[in-house]
Symmetry: C2
Subunit: 242 residues, 2 copies
C-alpha cells in the first residue's frame, strides 16, 4: 500500500476539475453511458482496440449530446485506439471483461501518465446453473481491482467503482437516476476526485467502503443484482443504502 489507507469519513467530494477522461473499451453500453454524462464538464475519449470503431462510436455519441445539451456542454467526445488515447488521459475507466485484465493492463501500464487515476468497474462474473456467480468466491482469483492493481502499479491510483450502475439508466440522459455507487481505494485524495466525478451525474451517490482490499464487497453486488432482477422481474436494477 503506497499511502496509509483512509480510515475516516471521506464522503466529501473534491470539486470537479477539468479532466481528460479515457474509457478503455468505451464502445460498449457502459462506455456510452459514461461518455454521455461526463462530456458535460470533461473531454471524454472513447477507446477501442480498433481506432475506427472508437471514432464511429464517438461520432454517434457526439450527435446525441449535441441534441441533448446544446451549448451547455463544456467538454467533447472523441475516439481513438485504447493505448494511443490512454497516453494523455488524467483518468481512465477500464470498461473491459475481467478475462482481458492482464492483457489490456499490460499494454496500458507503460503508456499512461504517472499520476493517471484508474477506475476499475470490472466484475469477475460467470453464469452458472444456479445463477450469476462471483468468480473470486470460488477462491482461484482475487477481486478485479486487485488484479488491476497488480498489473498497473502504484496501487494507490486504482479506485474500484461503478460496478452497479445500470448502463441503460446512464444512457437515458434526460431521465433521473437514484442509485448508490460503492467506491474502494487506498488514497483518500484520489478517492475524493472519483467521488466528485460520480456525484457530477445527478442522482448518483458515491458510498466509500474502505481500501481497495474491500473491492470484492462492491463487485459481488453485480451478480447479486442480476440474480435479483431475473428472479423478481426487476428492470435495470441498482442499489440504494437506506
Amino acid at each position: 500500500m503506497d499511502e496509509a489507507a483512509p480510515k475516516v469519513n471521506i464522503n466529501y467530494y473534491t470539486c470537479s476539475r477539468y479532466m481528460k477522461i479515457g474509457i478503455v473499451g468505451g464502445t460498449g453500453g457502459m462506455g456510452e453511458g459514461l461518455a454521455l454524462r461526463w462530456c458535460m464538464n470533461h473531454d471524454v475519449v472513447v477507446g477501442s482496440r480498433e481506432a475506427q470503431r472508437a471514432l464511429n462510436a464517438a461520432a454517434a455519441y457526439s450527435k446525441v449530446v449535441a441534441e441533448a445539451y446544446g451549448t451547455k456542454m463544456k467538454g467533447t467526445i472523441t475516439g481513438n485506439e485504447n493505448t494511443a488515447m490512454a497516453k494523455d488521459c488524467d483518468l481512465l475507466v477500464l470498461s473491459i471483461p475481467y478475462e482481458h485484465i492482464n492483457d489490456t493492463c499490460g499494454k496500458l501500464v507503460s503508456a499512461v501518465k504517472e499520476n493517471c487515476i484508474i477506475i476499475s468497474p470490472i466484475v469477475p462474473m460467470k453464469k452458472g446453473n444456479d445463477g450469476f456467480e462471483y468468480v473470486p468466491m470460488q477462491g482461484n482469483t482475487s477481486s478485479a481491482a486487485e488484479m488491476v492493481a497488480a498489473k498497473m502499479p502504484p496501487r494507490s491510483r486504482i479506485v474500484s467503482a461503478l460496478h452497479t450502475i445500470s448502463e441503460v439508466k446512464l444512457k437515458h440522459v434526460k431521465e433521473g437516476i437514484d442509485c448508490d455507487i460503492l467506491v474502494c481505494g487506498d488514497d483518500a485524495n484520489i478517492v475524493r476526485v472519483v467521488n466528485g466525478l460520480i456525484a457530477e451525474v445527478k442522482g448518483l451517490r458515491p458510498i466509500y467502503l474502505g481500501p481497495l482490499s474491500m473491492s470484492y464487497q462492491a463487485e459481488v453486488i453485480t451478480p447479486m443484482l442480476l440474480n435479483a432482477a431475473k428472479q423478481n422481474k426487476i428492470k435495470h436494477p441498482g442499489l440504494k443504502i437506506v
Copy 2:
C-alpha cells in the same frame, strides 16, 4: 439438493398461516425485533441457552407488545431453553454467531420436527484492519447457510434470509421500515412461506436470489453495509434494490 431448485419468479407469498416460530438465540436484538413483529400473527418462542434468560426476555417483550398492539395481537411471546423449545416449532430462526453453527445445529438436529423450516440469518464476519470482512472470501469456510445445511439436513428446508435488516428498525414497532430482504433457498414452497413471513412486517420486501448455494451473495451484504455505515455516517443501514 432434495428438490429441483426453483428457476422461476417466486416473488409470490404464500398467505400467512399460523406458525409456532422459535428464535434460537432470541435474547439478542435481532430476536427481540423479530419476536415483537411476528407475535402479531404467530406464537413466538424466544430461545436461549439458559431457560431463565429466555423467560425474562419473553416477559419483557410481552410487556412491550401488550402496550403497542393491545387486543389486535393474535399470537404470544414465551421463552424456553433453545433445544427444548425447538421441538414444537414449525419454523426456527438461528439468531446465533457463525462460530456456534456446528455446536448449536448439532444439538438441534435431533430435536426438531421433520418438516420444521430453518431460517439462517447468520453472517460469517470479522473485523479486520480494513473494515468488516466476509470470512468465506478468505476461502476456508463456506457460506453460513451451507454450514447449517450440512449440519441440519434435509437441505431443502433451509432458507437463507434476514441478514441485512437493522435490529433497531425491527424493534421500533411503531416506525416504518422500507428495506429489502434477500432470500435464498432450494424449495420453492418453503421459500414462499418465508417470503410471506417477511412480507408480514410492513415495509419489508423479500427478494429471492436463487438456490441456497447463492447465499454468499446475501450474507456478504452485511459487512458491506457495516463498512458503508461507518465510513459515511449512516445509521442502521439497510438495502433497497431500485
